[in-house]
């Protein structure tokens, strides 16, 4: 096998995310197992997750936590088949006649979606209901909570815990109006029609969404509990998100919650952006995140756009912003500033983006010899999280151009599964050299199976308590895998 010094990414101006690689930290909300300081977690990601028909075959699955002494060459990993959860969601259909006369209402299918959350409340699966109110969601065996969120706010959401075992599960829901959560959305004291309003309780359950009428009024229906009412305004691109103080709703009475925008007058923010050679840049995302808005209390507002022809022009509410320019590709570094004032008559300073910085070095094995074919991958810290990857040549040499701060990993070639990967966080403004030395690792291996049958081509990731990947392997056609963990 030949391995030249080959960038893993080819030049491709239209490839929006071609250079965006790397994911070492367990992303939030993915239900990863919690790990102690001396523990490891395994995640198995099968390549063949779908049947040829498109139907789900298997899901990525976590194993652990494992103590270091539990790990060895016979760490077999048996995946479970997904469990189908089906049901129908119906609800009260309140007709004008029935509502006025106090007559029984009819039941009708509910349009919305069903979420499945783990024990920590992280939503792992979401499926819509059909026009008939039917849903089907596949989950892993375990303890879950099914949550029904109607599109409209006129019916209350509902939820129920369940345990998925080996057999399919049926759960039907009937949504009722329950209690009212109502109020008005205003701008400078005047009604604000067309604003979207929803509520979230302390456990993360979400109501349907109501839209304010011509009088700026809305009404949501929710079960008893403590609910935080939120409006995203008429458009999230232009209006801040406002959250009211939590309101208590009991079985006896609802609650009234008003939301007030002090004002929505905007000023024009004009930002000029060039490369360090003075040429205008384009196709680079820029984000303005408000840290405070003039006249507002707590509010959330993020405006995003793309630099074109060296300029970005955005209508923004006056206030103080953090600005981030985060190239998704190309040879320029990102740029960020905090506490930037945006107000009438104040121009923003122009920005010059610096080029990427060089990194070079040699990858060595445990004996200090050149390790040809090792892969070096460096991930940008912050900004767009770009990463860059290359192979060591026959002399072990690598060369990359990176952002100012990067998290780098050197991974042994497939034929050296006795070596452990090694990592470093690099400040490229202080150094331009990295010579990683890969040590002999603790051998880990076993077989990946699904319901006892070998599972070829599954990625096995081993993470430590910080969420970093410390070992990685791929099961062979017989389901066997081998990798090495760092000795310490």
């Amino acid at each position: 096998m030949t391995r030249a010094l080959t960038l893993s990414v080819f030049a491709c101006a239209a490839c929006a995310s071609a250079e965006r690689t790397g994911t070492d930290v367990i992303p939030p909300n993915d239900g990863a197992v919690e790990l102690g300081a001396e523990e490891f977690g395994f995640r198995v990601v099968p390549a063949n997750q779908r049947e040829p028909s498109g139907a789900l075959r298997v899901l990525p699955q976590d194993f652990g936590p494992f103590d270091a002494e539990d790990l060895g060459p016979d760490k077999n990993l048996d995946l479970s088949s997904p469990v189908a959860v089906t049901g129908v969601v119906t609800g009260d259909s309140v007709t004008p006649y029935a509502a006025r006369a106090g007559l029984p209402t009819e039941s009708a299918p509910v349009v919305g979606h069903v979420e499945v959350a783990d024990r920590e409340g992280n939503v792992r699966f979401t499926v819509p209901t059909s026009a008939e109110g039917e849903f089907l969601v596949d989950v892993l065996p375990g303890v879950w909570e099914a949550r029904v969120v109607p599109d409209a706010g006129s019916l209350a959401p509902d939820w129920v815990p369940f345990t998925a075992g080996d057999d399919p599960i049926r759960r039907d829901f009937f949504l009722e109006p329950k209690q009212a959560l109502y109020g008005q959305v205003r701008v400078a004291g005047r009604p604000y029609p067309g604003a979207d309003v929803f509520a979230v309780d302390l456990e993360g359950h979400t109501s349907g969404t109501a839209r304010t009428d011509d009088s700026g009024r809305y009404e949501l229906r929710v079960p008893s509990g403590t609910w935080e009412v939120t409006t995203t305004g008429v458009a999230t691109e232009t209006d801040p998100t406002l959250r009211a103080e939590p309101a208590v709703v009991t079985s006896q009475r609802g609650a009234s919650v008003d939301l007030d925008y002090p004002m929505l007058s905007r000023v024009v923010a004009d930002l000029q952006v060039t490369a360090s050679d003075g040429s205008p840049v384009g196709s680079i995302p820029v984000r303005f995140t408000a840290t405070s808005l003039d006249g507002y209390g707590p509010a959330e507002f993020v405006a995003e756009d793309t630099i074109s022809g060296g300029q970005v022009v955005l209508p923004l509410l006056p206030g103080t912003y953090d600005i981030e320019i985060a190239p998704a590709e190309g040879n320029l570094r990102g740029w960020a500033a905090t506490g930037v004032r945006v107000q009438q008559g104040v121009n923003l300073d122009s920005v010059s983006l610096e080029p990427l910085l060089p990194l070079s070095g040699h990858v060595l094995d445990s004996e200090g010899d050149a390790l040809a074919g090792a892969r070096v991958t460096c991930e940008e810290i912050g900004f767009a999280g770009r990463s860059w990857s290359t192979f060591a040549d026959t002399s072990g040499q690598v060369s990359l151009a990176l952002s100012a701060a990067a998290s780098c990993a050197a991974v042994p070639p497939a034929e050296r599964s006795d070596l452990a990967m090694t990592r470093a966080t690099l400040d490229l403004t202080a150094t331009s050299t990295w010579n990683p030395r890969l040590r002999l690792g603790i051998p880990i291996g076993g077989r990946v199976t699904i319901e006892g049958e070998p599972e070829p081509f599954a990625i096995i990731e081993v993470r430590d308590a910080t969420g970093l990947i410390v070992g990685q392997g791929l099961s062979d056609p017989d389901g066997n895998y081998a990798l090495a963990l760092p000795p310490d």
Binding site: R3, C15, S17, S389, A414
Partner: protein, 104 residues
């Protein structure tokens, strides 16, 4: 003669478009390929602009079998878009695969 990369997973011919409805809040799509000459492969994913995708480094087996993965959130902006992957060998031969994404 330098042969183009062979796609092992999914089990489709190069140039195929796969209908891909999301079932999880985060989907991890994996492709496994091998170069008939055993040379290293480069994977170039093309994601619709503005999508916060993650592409972990490829994982390799002896013999040149390499897997590449993309991690995609169930972002409504992905609905009815096409994800593309081109797999290149050092000689510039390539094999492409496409996914028509469906966000429920």
């Amino acid at each position: 003669m330098d042969l183009p990369p062979e796609i092992l997973v999914p089990d489709v011919a190069p140039g195929t478009t796969i209908l891909y409805p999301f079932v999880s809040s985060v989907e991890r799509i994996i492709v496994v390929a091998v170069d008939p000459e055993g040379e290293s492969l480069a994977f170039v994913w093309q994601v619709p602009a503005g999508i916060d995708a993650e592409i972990p480094p490829p994982v390799e087996l002896e013999g040149g079998i390499t897997s590449s993965e993309i991690v995609l959130p169930a972002d409504p902006a992905l609905d009815d878009t096409t994800l593309a992957l081109s797999i290149f060998d050092p000689g510039g031969n390539d094999a492409d695969i496409y996914w028509d994404l469906v966000i429920p």
